[in-house]
Symmetry: C2
Subunit: 321 residues, 2 copies
């Protein structure tokens, strides 16, 4: 069995571990946090009760999970090494350097960083050409998306190997050829988040109202067609050009407002926390995670049935091939 | 049977007509466009083949649709009048004034405007206290959300009557007590759209890549939990406060970038149109509409089954009550 090494097992690292294990990979994991076993068990429980529903009777035997006492032991036999340590550049540099001291020179090393570009990571390393960004979304064991970001130092051959391997664990790699802070998906989310913070701060809407407008409206659209495709359909038979020319001028006013950045101070934090807790405070987070996973499985099965969008990933390959 | 009057039957007006008809209301419609009958038939076809799947065996007999030759005939017997004419203030003023000349003084008049506040509409009217904003999302016959925006001139009684009536046609009214241009949902979408335009303009990602990142990633999350609830769950057992304090500082860099507004000039329009057509150009818009509706029905049924988010709207009431 191939071995994946997971360095750092917060919610993202543990999610990667679950995805590899459920695809039959052995996983060597290192995280100095003493609570690692119990945190990992909770993510594995959620993953085991949801992911296999997407591939009934098709999954291989689960791989073997080993918690290692040192980073060097964790990476030595791995062909894929996934770094998911905290989002601070000195910690990233230190971890990636240590990984390279002990790993197979042919292993693929990926960082889960949501903010840093690969070239920023490379600056702290003596042998950067082995390291690229593979940024997933939570929950990693269910959502297929992964943003794969190489720098100009990464060979086409390495990019292709990484893409193929991610497809082997039922993911959808989107290779982004341009390095920008926070890549693509988080930039999109943060733009919406910035506007939402203003709306809450200014008392226009509560967190609950904003969430309901999303979940009862355009969130349903975006789960199956994206932003551009939805707008293209809205343009009718004349498609995108009609849409842009019809709506462009009318939308120019809102576009030009609230583009500055709200300060996330104590006052705004406590307003959001209060509203957010009122909104669903009667349901524990652990329960919400299970509800989320159940809904995601339902959506993914619906799309698998339709052979559409994320469902095509499920239909693309038998994972036991 | 109660009568709803639909003034203007583009994709939004026709969607309102379909929603009322399928809930047993009679609909009187006025639109001077000679293509109205055929455009309406196409929306009704889509609505009839999708919406009833959400309420098997529960729907009343479809109402009667009448196309009227004049606005005054279309509104005279209606208890709900929905204005969905083009998004230009002089046309809105003219239409709303004409409606008020012929309608029941107790009728509720709503504008589908996506951009104007009720107070802006009121400025052009002699009797504004009857008119509020009810802004739906396309497709109106499937998505439950409607932003209900009163001004200070609207009585609480009228707001409550409007909310109840929208619930009767299986909608989820969110009453927004603060008037801002483009209300709430479109502001959120436009913030994300603005960022997406930059990413396409700068060649960071294509429309297809952006759509795939949404449909294979956070779009699936937002169809069942909104922005804040998703972040709260991501914060783990410590919830929203932990999330804000952990991620706030790291995310401050991306927040402060690309907040100015890209110019939607011919060059950017043609770049988007070209990419958008390559992305799905082999599927006709009319076919995409059917795929969209089929997927929305699947999601809504999944959520109905889970009695969660938009599914709770479906479980809330028997429409034949």
């Amino acid at each position: 069995m191939p071995v994946a090494s997971i360095i750092g097992s917060g919610v993202i690292g543990a999610g990667w571990a679950a995805r590899f294990l459920l695809h039959g990979w052995d996983v060597s994991l290192y995280d100095p946090d003493p609570d690692t076993p119990q945190k990992l068990a909770s993510v594995m429980d959620n993953a085991r009760s949801s992911f296999p529903k997407l591939y009934p009777n098709e999954l291989p035997k689960e791989g073997k999970l080993t918690l290692k006492n040192s980073l060097s032991c964790a990476v030595s036999e791995a062909s894929w090494i996934q770094e998911s340590v905290p989002e601070r550049l000195p910690i990233k540099f230190k971890t990636l350097s240590a990984i390279q001291k002990s790993c197979d020179p042919n292993a693929i090393i990926c960082s889960s960083t949501s903010g840093f570009t690969p070239s920023e990571l490379h600056k702290g390393l003596s042998k950067p050409e082995q390291i690229l960004v593979a940024h997933p979304y939570n929950p990693v064991y269910l959502l297929p998306i992964v943003e794969l970001v190489p720098s100009s130092l990464i060979s086409e051959n390495l990019i292709q190997r990484a893409e193929e391997l991610l497809e082997d664990i039922s993911m959808k790699p989107i290779t982004i050829r341009s390095e920008v802070p926070a890549h693509v998906g988080d930039r999109l989310m943060e733009a919406l988040w910035r506007e939402a913070l203003w709306l809450v701060k200014d008392g226009v809407a509560s967190t609950k109202q904003i969430d309901e407008i999303i979940t009862h409206g355009f969130g349903l659209r975006w789960a199956q067609m994206g932003l551009f495709e939805t707008f293209r359909v809205a343009g009718g038979e004349n498609g995108m050009e009609h849409f842009l020319k019809q709506f462009g001028p009318y939308l120019s006013a809102p576009w030009s407002k609230l583009t500055d950045v709200p300060k996330l101070d104590e006052e705004l934090i406590s307003k959001i926390v209060k509203q957010s807790e009122e909104q669903s405070g009667n349901i524990a987070i652990s329960k919400l995670e299970k509800i989320r996973d159940k809904n995601l499985v339902r959506f993914l099965l619906a799309l698998k049935d339709a052979d559409w969008a994320a469902g095509q990933v499920l239909n693309r390959s038998k994972v036991t091939d």
